[in-house]
Symmetry: C2
């Protein structure tokens, strides 16, 4: 093992620590209430200058988080589209994924669902035009074509379905629904699906 590699590893580790710290603080207190000093403390690095070794500025940290999260989601959806065939199954897998995330990594779900990215990221696309959501919309369209989903504007179907799903996750994340996410999963799924399912 050469030292060059170790150094690279260490560098990437502190980067991750900074990103994790920032994610926690941003979701906790908000982007603007989080100073670099806060991030420094939470990440366990010595000075704020260390942060500038890894990121151009504070906004770049948020950008990195944003792209990382959307990209991971996009990949997961690709996997789902590859392994499940029926649109209904694909949607169900996506819902499973989201409830799982809300439980294992609530910060990520919070960042995704509740933060106003445009407030601190410049030139950020509306979330509906990002890759993962365009893919979900395509699944909805296939569902309509395959007559699993009733004939309806795809955007409306998306709105209703994820209205139920996201709001359920929302209420779990803020603690109003006070049990863990998976307790609400199957009921939320049935309800969400029924808003768009073709009646037999």
């Amino acid at each position: 093992m050469d030292t060059e590699k170790e150094k690279e590893q260490k560098k990437s580790e502190t980067q991750d620590e900074i990103l994790l710290a920032a994610l926690k603080l941003f979701t906790d207190k908000g982007y603007f209430n989080t100073s670099l000093a806060d991030i420094k403390d939470e990440a366990g690095v010595k000075t704020t200058s260390t942060i500038y070794q890894h990121f151009k500025n504070k906004q770049a940290i948020a950008e990195e988080l944003y792209h990382y999260i959307l990209n991971s989601l996009s990949c997961s959806i690709d996997d789902i589209r590859r392994t499940s065939k029926k649109p209904s199954e694909q949607l169900r897998e996506i819902v499973n994924l989201m409830f799982g995330l809300a439980e294992e990594a609530p910060d990520i779900m919070y960042f995704l669902l509740k933060m106003n990215h445009a407030e601190f990221l410049t030139d950020v696309k509306p979330i509906m035009e990002t890759a993962p959501f365009e893919k979900i919309l395509k699944i909805v369209q296939s569902g309509i074509k395959a007559k699993e989903i009733r004939s309806i504007e795809p955007l409306k179907a998306y709105t209703y379905f994820f209205g139920v799903i996201n709001h359920t996750l929302d209420m779990v994340l803020i603690g109003t629904l006070d049990k863990s996410a998976d307790v609400y999963l199957s009921d939320a799924w049935v309800t969400a699906w029924n808003t768009i399912a073709k009646k037999m």
Copy 2:
């Protein structure tokens, strides 16, 4: 007409202008991206000092908006509970109200639905514990008792119903659903109601 009264009137007018300007800017750019200089310009008052004549500080402006909006909503819901009897009718009226607001005063709806109040207001209750939402929850409970709504935890019913409604309004506010709110009203209502209605 005595001058004392005119002065009072003028004072209250500039207060309203400041509040309106702040509401527009807060929803537009976010609370933290809005400086008092911005509010001064938008409100058409000469200096930032003028603002301090009417409000203790910037946060007090946001607080006033928050309480004003929640209070108006609460009153409207009281009216609805007085004039409509069946819980389903009451909910329908609330939905009408919200879609109307989204069309006539989208800033208010945006402030209510999309802003993270806790980020800039200290000691703000979770929105579900505020008066209007407790009233809505009571309506849901009556609906269950009256067997209009299926037997379900009231909080879940609230979550599903307003999942559909709020997400629809959300998508209209950000322009993803690109027609005016009322176009989506009746369909959203049917869908939302079906998530909780007792099947006959």
